[in-house]
């Protein structure tokens, strides 16, 4: 049953090496109970490996991950505590959707009727009798979510659940996760697109190359992503100093480019005129979350 005491998730010093490759590198973060946390990073950043370690499917090289203080494999009734959607390929193509769920019910000791209930919840009741090989990627994602919901868990862990969903499906998923969390449940959802989850998540955990870049609330992150003005000028340093002197946040992006944050073109133009600085070009820009995300997760080798 949903409650205000849904378990939190804690990842502590988690490391996974595959031979010489370090997929996850001393990663630590927490997921607050009752929050939707976005687990973000580019493809190959180590998100899936981290989630599989959290769920006891992959053995960490070092470190640990717990749910409500307990490693997943030691949960007395894992299906009743955590529901997980890890990939859209985990189905026998020749098995009917409802049978797939019934098999899981049998293994988990849940009544077989739960299969029909969760098919209804994810909007697949019409096709429950069909074999999975005829399912689209979006239908498989929904079936995976249905399987995760069988035990009415208080924690949901989803790996790229929006892959393969059409825009309507993405919207449906967003509303579903929001209402799930609003009932006091904990949700950890991974994505390689911040924009995809920005409307859903409370918190973000951003990783790159297996390492934590930032853990923050989305609101704090959004504060860093304010609208600003980009100015090209032969006297960029002078303009930067003038802006700062006027109390406007400004920084040099290149020898001839200044970015002024949280301000308008008009305000920057007046300060430039007052300082007698020549301006070649001035662009009002929205430094949005996605841009910030890309900057945060940029491959350091590319940046240099």
């Amino acid at each position: 049953m949903p409650s205000q005491t849904a378990p939190s998730i804690s990842v502590d010093g988690l490391t996974k090496r595959f031979g010489d490759v370090v997929a996850v590198d001393d990663l630590s973060f927490t997921v607050e109970q009752g929050h939707v946390t976005g687990f973000l990073g580019r493809n190959g950043a180590g998100k899936t490996t981290t989630l599989r370690m959290l769920l006891g499917l992959v053995q960490p090289s070092e470190g640990s991950a717990t749910i409500g203080g307990v490693p997943y494999v030691q949960l007395p009734h894992p299906t009743l505590t955590v529901g997980a959607v890890l990939d859209s390929t985990g189905f026998h193509p020749g098995r009917r959707a409802r049978d797939h769920l019934r098999v899981l019910c049998a293994a988990a000791g849940l009544p077989a009727e739960r299969a029909d209930t969760v098919l209804e919840e994810v909007g697949l009741s019409q096709v429950g009798g069909r074999r999975v090989k005829g399912f689209s990627l979006g239908m498989r994602q929904r079936l995976g979510l249905a399987a995760a919901l069988l035990g009415r868990p208080e924690v949901l862990v989803l790996d790229e659940p929006a892959n393969g969903l059409d825009p309507e499906g993405v919207r449906w998923l967003r509303l579903f996760l929001r209402s799930y969390a609003d009932q006091g449940n904990t949700v950890l959802v991974s994505s390689h697109l911040l924009a995809e989850v920005a409307q859903t998540v409370d918190d973000v955990v951003i990783i790159a190359d297996g390492r934590l870049i930032i853990q923050s609330s989305l609101a704090d992150l959004a504060d860093q992503a304010q609208p600003g003005v980009s100015v090209r000028s032969p006297e960029a340093t002078v303009l930067r100093d003038a802006l700062v002197a006027a109390g406007t946040g400004a920084e040099l992006r290149s020898p001839d480019t200044v970015v002024a944050l949280e301000t308008t073109s008009e305000a920057v133009g007046l300060i430039a005129a007052g300082a007698g600085v020549t301006v070649f070009e001035m662009t009002a820009r929205h430094f949005d979350l996605e841009e910030l995300f890309l900057a945060l997760t940029a491959d350091p080798k590319e940046a240099r």
């Binding site: 499917l57 992959v58 997943y72 894992p78 990939d87 189905f91 009917r96 098999v103 293994a107 988990a108």
Partner: protein, 250 residues
């Protein structure tokens, strides 16, 4: 444990591939009987019906499908990796030992079901056919009981060997290929050419257990073969349980 075994049996019942494989196992039986009957007592053929060995050899067709039962065990385990259902399976039951244990039991039950149908089918074909040749087989005589019992044990135990093998060779196609080449080619050659070694192999033990006659080859007595084959099944099952523990499910 009970619910895990039921889940594994449900997995087999809800896809066609297991039923199709079991039917393939049964299809071997009439063919094997026909070959045995038609070659009995011929030069280079198998013993004549007038001997116990001859009757037992024809009846041993009841275990003709054992190799296919081996494939059922492989399907049950390797299919989880092939289709990615291992993820859901081990999420529901993180204690992997219990999952493999349930698969060993469920596969053995499936093997037993195939064995029972095989026995009935064999009797239904052999008894009237031999009667037509004026050879009368006592349904409760030692020939029938020993051969069918031995065939039952061999068929049941091949299934958990398949489960164990598939934990060692995760790729389903590779595992099935290795199983078929080993049982049909390698063991057949070793049993015929180097019987002193061959009779200690799983296939040699299974053959002895089923009383199938192999030309001029002295196999183990059925009781010893049964113990040896059970030891193989136990070893493969134990290896499967040990191997699955620390494996990464990706």
């Amino acid at each position: 444990m009970n619910q895990l075994v039921r889940a594994e049996l449900l997995k087999m019942r809800t896809t066609r591939v297991f039923a199709a494989t079991a039917l393939a196992a049964l299809a071997f039986i009439p063919l094997t009987i026909a070959v045995a009957v038609l070659t009995a007592g011929k030069p280079g053929g198998t013993p004549a019906f007038e001997t116990h060995e001859g009757v037992r050899h024809v009846l041993s067709a009841s275990s003709a499908g054992t190799v296919v039962v081996l494939l059922i065990g492989i399907l049950l385990m390797a299919g989880e990796h092939r289709h990615g259902t291992a993820t859901a399976t081990f999420l529901v039951t993180p204690d992997r030992k219990r999952v493999v244990g349930a698969k060993l039991i469920a596969a053995t039950i499936a093997g037993a079901a195939v064995a029972v149908v095989s026995s009935v089918l064999t009797l239904a074909i052999v008894i009237p056919w031999l009667a037509a040749k004026d050879v009368h087989v006592d349904l409760l005589g030692s020939d029938v009981v020993l051969v069918l019992l031995g065939g039952f044990v061999a068929t049941c135990l091949y299934a958990p060997i398949g489960v164990g093998l598939a934990t060692m060779i995760r790729n389903q196609t590779t595992a099935q290929g290795v199983a078929l080449v080993w049982t049909l080619v390698v063991e057949g050659l070793v049993v015929s050419l180097v019987p002193t070694l061959g009779r200690w192999l799983p296939g040699g033990a299974a053959t002895a257990l089923t009383y199938a006659a192999v030309n001029d080859v002295k196999l183990l007595p059925a009781w010893a073969a049964g113990l040896l084959f059970a030891a193989y099944a136990f070893a493969f099952g134990a290896a499967g349980i040990a191997l699955i523990q620390r494996r990464d499910i990706t």
